[in-house]
């Protein structure tokens, strides 16, 4: 049975890469004493599926992963409820679990399901006026050509539809640029976004604020019932279709 977690990675630990984080997680689930399922084969590993990779150096308050437990449907709710505390206690400083929910069997994987992410860019310049002007320029552009290199070949594609809402939040120091960037068919990375139309931006820390699943024009968090998360008290078997989850319980995990 599968549980989905939301976790954060902030501070010094942001310099650990995706592979480092995966190793940290394998040790953490063992230390937390979770009944985690293992892969088969010569080199069994805990069955953990990670979502979209976060680049080394970036922070996030919205990382997700799915972990398979060897537990019955009934036990699963208890395990999930205890996971934020159990796991946060054994994760290194800067990493913590904020929420966990059992997942409906057959729920779409994170890699496949997530359609966009909201990013926060700390502006290190003192004057946010040029940044605001630039944001307006991006917002009103009909097309946003982006040059990217892959396997030694440079291609240019229009990422206009992948760049969603963006705005500047004025805060006391410098300011913060918030933007939603699409992940399909190919993710627009924060670093690529910052290259669009030569922005006059001095950017410090980059942080992922949300991951979103957009379906039928609606946006959901990966821990929403619509994404397959099961609310406490829900009947795992009856929950084979999301419609079976009572609406009143759908909000608990969201």
């Amino acid at each position: 049975m599968r549980v989905r977690l939301r976790w954060s990675k902030q501070g010094k630990i942001r310099f650990c890469g995706h592979r480092d984080a995966a190793r940290i997680w394998e040790r953490a689930v063992r230390r937390a004493g979770l009944p985690v399922a293992y892969s088969q084969g010569f080199s069994p590993r805990p069955r953990i599926s990670f979502g979209l990779a976060l680049a080394t150096g970036q922070e996030s308050v919205a990382e997700y992963l799915d972990v398979d437990l060897r537990a019955s449907a009934e036990e699963l709710y208890d395990w999930a409820a205890g996971m934020p505390e159990r796991l946060s206690a054994v994760l290194p400083d800067g990493m913590a679990v904020s929420d966990a929910c059992p997942l409906r069997p057959g729920a779409v994987s994170l890699q496949e399901a997530v359609t966009s992410c909201t990013w926060e860019f700390a502006l290190t310049g003192t004057d946010t006026t040029p940044a605001a002007a630039w944001a307006e320029q991006v917002r009103s552009a009909d097309s946003l050509p982006l040059q990217r290199e892959r396997k030694g070949r440079t291609t240019t594609s229009d990422v206009r539809t992948a760049v969603g809402d963006l705005h500047i939040l004025d805060v006391s120091v410098g300011g913060v640029l918030v933007a939603e960037l699409g992940t399909k068919p190919r993710a627009v990375r924060p670093a690529e976004f910052l290259r669009l139309i030569a922005p006059p931006l001095a950017v410090g820390r980059v942080r992922r604020l949300h991951q979103w699943i957009t379906r039928d024009g609606e946006r959901y968090e990966p821990l929403a019932p619509e994404a397959g998360a099961l609310a406490p008290g829900g009947d795992m078997l009856a929950a084979a279709s999301i419609d079976a989850v009572p609406a009143a319980q759908q909000e608990v995990c969201a």
Partner: protein, 651 residues
């Protein structure tokens, strides 16, 4: 004290693998500084990935932080990209724990496990913000110390390091802390004098060096300094169950697993092996303590792999039973549904490796199995006293293949004393024989042959041997490569002979080599252990500039009348014992392991009033060194027996 973190943080976005600079490992700190405390910065002079797992530094880190009068943090060599940025911004060497500047500490202490890190040591002293040469430091400048195996001939670094510790550091670091605290206000000469008076501590400034012919004589010039500095030895490993909190790195490092030292010291008596000579006698950790350290360690760290470390782990009394217990219950379930624990035994003697051990090991993940026959013929193995027979090797290799391993790794040395081309080609024959045995059990059986060039080491019977030239090593490796060319099941790897020569220069060099090391460092030669950074020409040019000859320093056979640059430093071994062992080697005569046979008075036990600590006086399968002696009728064996597990269970 100001943390340098805010200065470093912006740089970390611009460098490779920034996670190695952030600290925060499980098991680290908190290192609390305080008035009166002696602050140690323990430094491994290579990258974090190589240095973090070092058990010696981890042990001392814990022991110091448990003391009320000391605090310890760690530092590693920043990689070139970060170092360039640091130097541009005038940022000094920093600790990864609290990101404090090296200058905030009292002692900068290095672990020396390889000669090729010497230029990094100089670079780090410089990066720490103090004068590279000890004589140019003054007053409250950092004290620079070093320990580890290379400290048994520290002369090449003597101009740069204030004090060296010989042997086990567990007790010595406490005494150094106390001496430093007591003489802190008294000036550099006073502190160094106090250190020179401590057992096992060598202060180069307290000695004068004179050269005459090929002899180098080092004699005390300070009253506190003894004529001969004797190494430190902890009598019982059971009293030091460290590390209790092994560091768990946040990024990938070498040996990324739990490590538990099961014994220290080795008396197999391999004549090329410095570690086996300088760490005598054998001190086994009680098996119960090993079990506790493994189970506690796995629970605390979350690792699923443990290495049982020592110089020859298969010699541990009751090794089969221990491995079986560590791997877990028979049903293959390591508890809580986890797969069986993976056990790796990094140093395996083939004559003690049995099908039983192989069967237990394979229940976890099969990690690589490396055997070290060291030489390709029985004759040469007698010369080096690695007395394993062809039958021993066959049996060990067959054990491995029959338990499902498809590849084993064999380690050999070339350039050994008395070696002929026949001995070298014997390596290829052995490898082919192993593949043949393997094919009886598994399809696609293969062997990796790894060949290192032999570097004669101080404090060993081979300290008088003139090392093979770079050309000769190249010729021998080519001979081997040629012979194995058509053999697709045998993969040959070899160590760069040029690097072997430089190791040899530093290994047995005297104080004059310091100028060469400084020259190479000033010419940009750091990270010389890394083949992509190793620069042979820098070393040759520096030798030339300082009037030293490679021939005299490395290739020349030394004579028994010659005073050696490390004669004032002792690992307990009598020089006449070593000379006799060298003569025995040349006569192809082997010597038993004294753990299971009567003492032959090498000096290590008798000189220090200590003895072997083992749980069983019965040698493992394969007997003692294959010498065919009658082990059923042993003479008086000078060992202290640990209480057996059964007895411990009864009480």
């Amino acid at each position: 004290m100001r943390s340098l973190w805010s200065d470093l943080e912006p740089l970390l976005d611009q460098v490779q693998r920034p996670a190695r600079y952030i600290g925060g490992e499980e098991g680290a700190g908190p290192a609390a500084h305080g008035p009166g405390k002696v602050a140690w910065l323990l430094c491994y002079p290579d990258s974090y990935e190589v240095g973090l797992p070092n058990q010696g530094l981890q042990i001392l880190y814990e022991i110091l932080n448990e003391r009320s009068d000391a605090v310890a943090e760690r530092a590693y060599a920043p990689w070139g990209d970060l170092e360039a940025l640091m130097r541009r911004q005038d940022l000094p060497l920093f600790s990864v724990d609290n990101h404090l500047a090296a200058g905030e500490f009292d002692i900068l202490a290095f672990n020396l496990s390889s000669e090729l890190v010497y230029t990094n040591v100089l670079n780090l002293i410089d990066l720490a913000g103090v004068a590279v040469r000890a004589v140019d430091r003054s007053g409250g400048d950092l004290l620079v110390g070093a320990g580890g195996h290379c400290a048994f001939n520290p002369e090449p670094l003597a101009d740069f390091v204030d004090f060296f510790v010989l042997g086990d550091g567990e007790e010595a670091v406490g005494e150094i802390t106390e001496a430093t605290a007591a003489h802190r206000g008294g000036g550099r000469r006073e502190i160094l004098g106090a250190l020179a008076g401590l057992e096992g501590v060598y202060v180069p400034a307290a000695y004068a060096v004179s050269h005459s012919g090929f002899s180098t004589v080092v004699t005390p010039r300070w009253v506190e300094a003894p004529d001969i500095v004797e190494k430190r030895t902890i009598p019982s490993l059971g009293d030091w169950p460290y590390p209790k909190r092994q560091l768990v790195p946040l990024t990938e490092v070498v040996h990324d697993r739990l490590n538990v030292e099961v014994f220290r010291g080795c008396t197999r008596g391999c004549r090329f092996c410095q570690a086996g000579m300088i760490t005598r006698p054998v001190r086994e950790r009680p098996a119960e303590q090993v079990r506790t350290m493994v189970s506690e360690g796995l629970r605390r760290t979350g690792y699923d792999e443990v290495a049982l470390t020592s110089l020859s782990t298969a010699d541990f009394s009751g090794i089969e039973e221990l491995v079986a217990d560590v791997v877990g219950p028979e049903d293959g379930d390591g508890g809580a549904g986890c797969p069986a624990v993976t056990v790796s035994l990094p140093s395996l003697r083939v004559d003690a490796f049995t099908v039983g051990i192989a069967a237990e090991l394979q229940r976890g993940r099969r990690t690589g199995l490396t055997f070290a026959p060291e030489a390709g013929s029985w004759r040469l193995r007698q010369v080096i006293n690695k007395l394993i027979s062809a039958e021993d090797l066959d049996a060990a290799v067959e054990s491995a293949y029959s338990q499902g391993w498809r590849r084993v790794k064999l380690y050999f040395l070339v350039g050994l004393p008395t070696e002929t081309d026949e001995d070298v080609l014997g390596i290829a024959a052995l490898a082919r024989r192993c593949v043949e045995l393997g094919r009886r059990h598994v399809r696609g059986a293969s062997v990796t042959v790894s060949v290192g060039g032999f570097v004669p080491k101080p404090q060993t019977p081979f300290q008088w041997f003139g090392q093979n030239t770079v050309e000769e090593l190249r010729r021998k490796i080519a001979l081997l490569a040629d012979d194995l060319r058509a053999d697709r099941s045998v993969k040959l790897k070899w160590h760069d002979p040029e690097a072997t020569l430089v190791e040899g220069l530093a290994s047995r060099g005297d104080r004059r080599l310091g100028a060469v090391i400084e020259d190479v460092w000033r010419s940009g030669g750091t990270f010389q252990e890394w083949s992509e950074h190793f620069d042979y020409q820098l070393w040759l040019d520096a030798m030339d500039r300082h009037g030293l000859s490679v021939e005299d320093c490395a290739y020349r056979h030394r004579s028994d009348s010659e005073a050696l640059p490390w004669d004032h430093l002792s690992a307990g071994l009598h020089k006449d014992f070593l000379w006799q062992d060298w003569q025995d080697a040349l006569a192809s005569s082997g010597l038993e392991d004294c753990r299971w046979t009567p003492c032959y008075d090498c000096g290590a036990c008798t000189g220090y009033g200590i003895e072997h600590v083992v749980a069983s006086a019965t040698p493992p399968a394969g007997g003692s060194q294959g010498t065919g002696q009658d082990l059923l009728q042993p003479g008086p064996v000078p060992v202290r027996l640990l209480a057996t597990r059964q007895l411990a269970g009864v009480s």
